[in-house]
Symmetry: C2
Subunit: 411 residues, 2 copies
């Protein structure tokens, strides 16, 4: 829901060093499905029309990297700002572009409410952003919270337990947070160097320096912060899951193909949302364009021409013209229906080599092409073969494995 009548901008601190991840690359720049994590967080903000400016604050050595990311993934309304040596100093720098002309090439329109969100929390939804913004407008400050997963304990000087906190009385403070711009900017101007160097929590500054008790808003589980390597694994799996919600099946009008073109979607429908399009429709871009606008990242082309790269090529061209492959790899499975009924049917090496070559070229455009052969022999076995094909299609879609492109699987 849009928070009516409030002007909103966002600051994303992305200056962390990612020590806890144990890698050389700071976590916000780690690739998930080939794309840096920070780009997912930026995209999560950018798709929300009521957020005006998105300020990404990065350490000086990563400014060029960040600018390249913005260009490569076509991010809009994003400005890169140089961070300070701590999280608070970076956020302060991000806020200054709205208030002080010398910190930026132009003075941005000061928003009524500013959202602060982490570059390493890629799954933030509009709902929680809207909630913290509205709560901030009312209370001056607001932040997402989550129940504690573990009990929190205080240790004594000797490394022994001093006391345990009663878990139900406390919450984990997460992101996003939102503030009346004047409140948080005032807090940063008032706060001490000690705060700027050792603090991390914006809600605390608003309370301490502006007497603003932030509204705490219960968030969803997907607000978690990518901190450890296991979190990158989890993020990767969640993104793959999100990309595996829908498949578009494109079929020929030919009678036998049409039969498989009917059975295959039926089998797939048990596991995934399916759109079907006939090839003649697919030649008319409009229908496909409407599917593209629905953010479908998986396509299955069914035809009876051996290794029909031409048909697939046509779809690749349409996909390239869309911006679908820009943000996520698109899976394109070319299903070849062998209706020869010939048990000694065989596949030649040259044909396999040509599929692989085509797939390698197409991968450069972030489209992952796989081949799948369905043998149409005994009609009584067709259902079983189609189910097996559906299982392979689901496996290819869920895995999105770039190493297996150009392979011809057999159902």
């Amino acid at each position: 829901m849009e928070p009516g009548g409030v002007s909103v901008s966002a600051v994303l601190p992305a200056g962390g060093s990612g020590e806890r991840l144990g890698g050389a690359t700071p976590k916000q720049f780690c690739a998930v499905q080939g794309r840096p994590l920070v780009s997912y967080a930026v995209r999560a903000m950018e798709r929300i029309s009521w957020i005006s400016d998105i300020i990404v604050v990065v350490s000086p050595e990563n400014i060029e990297t960040m600018k390249t990311i913005i260009e490569k993934y076509g991010h809009k309304r994003v400005t890169v700002v140089e961070g300070g040596i701590t999280r608070h100093r970076s956020i302060f720098n991000g806020l200054k572009v709205f208030a002080e002309k010398q910190f930026s090439s132009h003075l941005f329109q000061k928003p009524e409410v500013v959202i602060i969100h982490d570059a390493v929390r890629p799954f933030v939804e509009e709902d929680i952003l809207s909630k913290v913004v509205m709560a901030a407008k009312e209370h001056g400050a607001a932040g997402a919270i989550r129940p504690l997963v573990s009990t929190v304990v205080a240790s004594a000087a000797d490394g022994c337990l001093d006391h345990s906190l009663e878990r139900a009385r406390y919450r984990a403070s997460e992101m996003p947070q939102a503030f009346l711009f004047d409140v948080i900017y005032e807090a940063y101007q008032q706060c001490t160097d000690y705060d700027l160097d050792y603090g991390t929590e914006c809600l605390h500054l608003a309370l301490k320096y502006c007497k603003t008790n932030a509204k705490l808003v219960e968030g969803t589980a997907d607000l978690w912060k990518v901190t450890y390597k296991r979190d990158l694994y989890a993020a990767e799996s969640i993104i793959k899951d999100n990309l595996s919600q829908e498949v578009c099946v494109i079929t020929d009008a030919n009678e036998t193909v049409a039969q498989v073109g009917f059975l295959l979607p039926e089998s797939l429908k048990r596991q995934i949302k399916v759109e079907t399009v006939s090839i003649s429709q697919s030649r008319n871009d409009n229908h496909l364009q409407s599917i593209f606008s629905g953010q479908c990242y998986n396509f299955v082309c069914v035809n009876d021409k051996k290794c029909a790269i031409q048909e697939t090529q046509q779809l690749v061209h349409i996909l390239e013209k869309s911006d679908i492959p820009l943000l996520h790899p698109v899976v394109l499975i070319s299903v070849y229906l062998d209706i020869s009924g010939n048990n000694s049917f065989s596949i030649g090496m040259e044909e396999l080599a040509s599929i692989k070559k085509f797939a390698r070229e197409t991968k450069k455009k972030n489209i992952l092409v796989y081949g799948l052969l369905i043998q149409y022999k005994d009609p009584s076995l067709l259902q079983e073969t189609v189910n097996s094909a559906a299982a392979l299609i689901m496996a290819l879609i869920k895995d999105r494995n770039p190493e297996l492109i150009g392979q011809l699987l057999v159902a």
Copy 2:
């Protein structure tokens, strides 16, 4: 390191309902790589020789499920005990089998130190177990802690921020914990119904009822608790990672095969630890047995016989006799080297069907068989083809995708 001279047993509460996971199956029974999570935690305890008895406490409706799991995965030294309606009551029930005869068919030897660990923390290492046991022997109680990932806040009655905790002063209390048996048993006997119903933290009981200040031991990041769906994803990826550390390449003595049998391991070595064995050695079980004892879960058989199921069958028999496939799926890639030099080389449907049939049978034994074809044509292109084969092998090993078994990939 073995904690010398201390008798140790373990209690694993596994009675949780897994509400936060959002699924019908309690998280400890969710399958990761086909095996319930609780079995991983049990295995982590069981492999440590100095832990005598492992008591798994489950809710009454899951007792049979748990007994089936123990039987299926061959767990030893494990006893299933019926839990109570809360975590504390379950742990108390687990402890009683060491102290009170009526709670079990026989009285277990009371240990000096008892470890308490969660069924949903599958990655606990011997090092931290040993540390908490030794600290418990010295201090009476000990528990693993981790730095807080998020700031902890206290909310006021109006849902607004009351205060933030200074993150550096607090820690997340994790598992494993360990106690002198008499300390924790006394604490449970003394504590109130309110404690048993609403508390969760054993360290707190030891402090409150036995004046024992637990030693807090800094743990590693892998102690985290599987709580949300994303944690199951992370656990799955970590387990796949652990299984992809080593591959055993078995080759023929034939000259051309030997050349690939040399180049392929060299290429694989850039990404994974590689053991090589000749087929003649593999016929002598001893050498393979020593590799099996090294917990290798990935095998590549290189030969020049078209779809040489016989060779692969032999390895399957040896694997079946070992207990390697009992706990984890084993990947077995049958590499067929085509030395015909024939560009119009082709693969028949019947051969493909026979590989698939074989793979389906073998999958029932938890062995995942894949086919891989390497064409030996131009010697100048051999290195490139071998690198491509190595990339496919790594992809198959890392993914362990059960849907792709029986497929013949082409390098």
